[in-house]
Amino acid sequence: MFGFTKRPLFLIAWKNLKTYPVRIFLTTSSIILGVAVIIASNIFSESNKSAFDNLFIGIYEGVDLVVQPIQEDFAQGFSGDGGQGPVSFEVKKIPDEKIQEIQNLPSVKAAWGDVLGYAQYIKFGDRKDCHSLSEECPRETILVQNGFAPTFGAAWDNNPYAAQWSLVEGKPPTNIREVVMDVLTAENHDFAVGDKVTVLAGATPATFTISGIAEFANVGSPGGATFALFDFTTAQKLLDSTGKVDLINVVVENNYDVNEVKEQIASLDSENLNVINAQEAAAEQADSIKQGLDFFNTILNVFAGIAIFVGAFIIQNTFRILLLQRTKELSLLRALGTSKRQIYRLVISESLFMSIVGSGLGIGLGIGLAVAVKEGLQYFEFGLPEGPLVLTTEAALVGLAIGVTVTILSSLLPARKASQVSPMEAIRDSISTPKGKSLFIRLIFGTLISTIGFGMLFGVLFEFLDLPTLSSLQQVGFGAGIIFIGISVITPSITKPFVFIFEKFYNLIFGILGKLATENSKRTPRRTASTASALMIGLTLISLANVITTSFKAQAETLISEVILADYQVSAANVFASPGIPTGLSEELLELDEVTKLSRTRATVVGYNQRPLILGAVDETVFDLVKTDDIEGSREGFLKKDTIGILKQTAEREGLSVGDEVLLTIPEEGEKGFTVSYIFDWTTQPPAEFFVLLENSSFFSDESLDTELYFNVYEKTPELEEKINSIVDGYPGVAIRDEDGLVEEANNQIQLLLNVIYGFLSISIFVALFGITNTLSLSVYERTREIGLMRAIGTYRKQIRRMIFIESSIIAIFGAALGTGLGIFFAWSLIQTLADDGFTVFSVSISQTFLWIGISIIAGVVAAILPAIRASRQNILEAISYE
C-alpha cells in the first residue's frame, strides 16, 4: 500500500505536521521569537548602515577632497569621548587664509570652509508662578532637542558646487540676526519662517529670526540633531572659530588628477593640514555612527540569544511531551516492524520540517518587528535617515540556520527516547508516564558542576583561587554560568523537596485542590523542573538586573550624601547640548549675601606623555564642598604656584608621587612644568585627573565657561531657593540641583536603563509561557481518567480549572524562586567583585523582586488558561468508560 512511496516515514512525518499545525506553533514558538529578534536587529542595523552610507556620500557629493587640521598628538582619538562632561577641548582649526591659498591653486575649482560647534535652540515656556509682584517673573526655559540627539550650530554654505543643506522654505541667513533651522526641528517643535528663536552658542544666548528652513541630503536632519545654520562669519563668531574653519571642502578642476591635487594641497602646509578623499571622509564619518549602531545591534542579538536559549529548553520539553502523547502511534509503528532507527529518523525529519517553518515564520515576524522598531524610533523623533528596509540574504540564512540547528539539536534527545518506545505500549490501555533514570545521579552530577562554579566564584570573593588569563570579573561570570548549568541539572532532583516546602501552605489555602496540584507537580519532577527552568533563566537575568541597579541606586544615594558636602551643585543641563556654565553665573551667585561658600571648576585637555589628560582648575573652597581624601602631600602645598594635584588612581597609574616633576603640553601655551604637591582621592566622579588652583593658572582665566559649581548657603529657605532659581534661569542650558535632585536624577537614569532591560527580558518570560502551556497540556492529557473521575464524583469544572492553575503556579513559583535566588546571588557576587572599584552597597528591592515573582505567577496562570479549559471540558464518560 505504501508501495509507491519510497519514503513512507517521511510521508508520515509530513502528514503528522499537516494534521497538527498547532503542534508546529507550540514547538517552534520560541524559535519564531528568537529568529525574529535576530532578523529584526539585523534588518534594522543594515538598513540604517546603508542609509548612513548614502547620507554621508550625499554630504560630500560634488566635493573631491576634504582638508582637515592635524590635531596635536595627544588629542588624537580624544574627540567624541571626552566623557566627563563639558571640557573645553582646544581643537585645532584651519585659519581662513588657507581657504584662499587653496582656492588660488590653478588645479582647484572651488574651496570653502565648514564650521561646526555646539548651539542650542531655546524655547520659553509659560511664566512660572511667583510671589513677588514687583520683579519680572522668569519664564521656564526649554532646551529644544530631538530625542537624545546632539545640538549643533554650523555655517550655512550656499556653494554652487555642493549643497549639503538645501532650503525647503525661506531664504539663506544673510546677517548676524538670522538663522536657518533644520526641517526636523522646525516640525517637531513648531517653528516657522519669520519666528524669533533664541540660540545659545558660546556663553550668551541671543535671539535670531528664522530666515529659512532647510533639509539635509533628503533627511530632516542628520542623526536627528538640531541644527542652527548661520551666515559664515556669524557662525565663526558664535562657534568659537573667529577667523578659522574646522575643515575645507575642495572641488578639483576637471582636467586635473584628484590624487595629484591632494598632494599639492598637503604640501602647502604638511605640518598642519591633512588632505583626504571625500569618499574616505564620508566612510570615516559613516563608520563612527555605524559603530554606535553596532552596539545597539549587539544588545539586540544578546537578547535574541537569550530567547533562543530559553527556546531550546522549551523545544526539547515540547518534543518530549508531543512524543509521549503519540506513544501509542509510535509503538504501533514499532509493532508493525518499523525499526528504532526509522522512528528516530521520523522524529528528526518532523523537527526539520518544523524548524524550517518556524524559522520562516520568525523571519517574517522579524521583518514586521523591524518595521515596528523603525516606526517607533521615528515616533520618538530620533530622526534616522530615510531609506528602505534591507534584509540581506546573509541575515536570512543566518536566521534560518540558527532556527534549524537549535530545533534539531533540541529534538535529538527526545527523538532517542521516542525510538525506545516498546511495541507493547500500543496494546496497553493505560497512558503510562515513563520512569526516568535516577534523579540521584542527576543530583550528584549537578552538584559536581555547581561546585566547580562555586569554586570559581568564591575563589575570587574569598581570594583563594585566581585563574590565570581570566580577570576576576570574568572568573565570577564564568563561575556564575557554570553554577547556573549545575543548578539546571539539579532542578528535577530538588523539585520534590521544593514543593514539599509550601505543600502545607497550599493545602491550607486551597484544600484538596492544593494537595492534588502539589502532588501532581511532584509526580513528574523532571518535566516540572525543565518547564520551570525556562522561566528560571528569565528571572535570573531580571533579578540580576534588578539587584544590580537597586544597589547602584543605593550606592549613588549614599555616595551623593556622603561626598557632596555642598548645598547646591550647578552643571550643564545636558552634556551634549551645552558647552558649560557661563562665568557670569558664579559672579552673580557670589553677590548674594546668603551664599557662604562657592567653588568653581574648569577643565581643559592637555598632553602628558603624548596622551591626552584632563586638567582641572578649582577654587580652594572645593575641598570644603566636595569630599576629598588626602593620600599624600597636603592641601597647603597645592595652594602654592606651579604645583599640581593628582588623583590617586592617576598617580598610581603614572607612578607619580609628591615632589615629582610633571611636564604638561598646554594648548596655545606650550610645555609647562609642575611639581606634584598633593595626591588625593576625589570621592565622586572626578572632573579631571590633574588639578591646579584656578587663581594660580593664568591660562584658565580667559575661559568663559565653568564646568561645575558647588556652593553653600547660610540657610536653605524657599525664598532663597526662588532667588537662586531666578538667577540660574538667566542661564539657559544650566541646571541646578540640591542633594535630593542629584539623587533623583541618578535614580531616573538607572531606572530608565533598568526598564529597557526589563522590556527585553520579558521576551524570555513570554517564551517560557509556551513551555508551561505545553507541559500542562500534557499533564492534563495524561490525567484524562483522573480528571474524569474527579468530575464524576462531583468536582465542579471551576475546581478542575483551579487545580490546573494551582499546578501552574507551582511551576511558576519554582522557576521564579530559583531564578530570583540565583539572580540575587549572582548580583551579590558581582558587587563583591566590584568592591575594589568602589561598589560597596548591596541592596535588594523587595518590592521589585515580589513584583516579578508576581508577574511570573500571573504569567503561569495565563499559560494555564487553555489547558485548564481543556481539562474542565473533558468528557466524563469517555474518561471513566472501560472497554
Binding site: E786, M790, R791, G794, L877, Y882
Partner: protein
Amino acid sequence: MHPNIEFMNVIISANNLTKIYGEKETSVTALDNININFNEMQFTAIMGPSGSGKSTLLHCLAGLDRPSSGQIYLKDSDISTLNDKQLTKIRRDSFGFVFQAFNLIPTLTAEENITLPASIAGKKPDMDWVKKVVETVDISDRLTHRPNELSGGQQQRVAAARAMATKPEVIFADEPSGNLDSKSSKELLVFMKSVVEELNQTIIMVTHDPYAASFANRVVMLKDGKIASDLEEPTQEEIISEVTALSDI
C-alpha cells in the same frame, strides 16, 4: 407531579427514559422508553447482555449522561433538566460511585481518597461515619497507603468506602467486581450487601455476573434498551436461568 409518588420509599426513578446515540442513520437506541423505580435501602442489580444499555442507564440515573428524552427523578425532583453545575453538586452530595477500574486518585492515600468528595465540597467529613464505613469494608489498616500499594480488591473496597463516606442517597456501581479474582470479588460483594443491610444505604449495581447479582435484593434485566424482567430476591439459579433465557432469544 411525580407519577410514582404513592411509593413513599422510592429514591430514584426513570420516567420514559430514552437515550439515543449518534445521528440519524447511524443512531443507536441504547435506552428505549424505560420506566423504573428504585427503592430506598435496597441493593439492586442491573443485568443484561453486552450492549443492552446497562451502563447507559446507570450513567443517566447518576447524572453522568443526559437522557435524549424522559425524566430522572431524585426523590421528587427532576434532575434531567439541571445544568452541569447543579448536576455536579448532586453527584457530589447525593450520589456515590464505584467504577470497574480507575476508581482512585493515584497521588492520594486511601484515606484522602475516601474523604475526597467531602474535601471537594469543602466540608469536614463525618469522621464517626467514615470510621464505621472503613471498618465495614475492612481497610482500617491500609488508610495511609497509596492506591498502587493496594491490591485490586482493596482498591475497590476503598472506592466503596469513598462512595459511602458522604452518606449519599444512592450508590452507583458499574461492574465493581469485574476486575477482581473470585475471592476479592466475594469480599467486596459481601461488604456491599452489609452496607445496605447494616448502614441502610441504597445501591444500584450494573453487573453481567449472576453470582454478583445474587447478592442483590432485586435484579433488573435489560435487553436492547428495554426492561426484560424484574426479579425480587432471586436466587443465583433463578438469575442464571433468566440470563440464559434472554440470551437464547
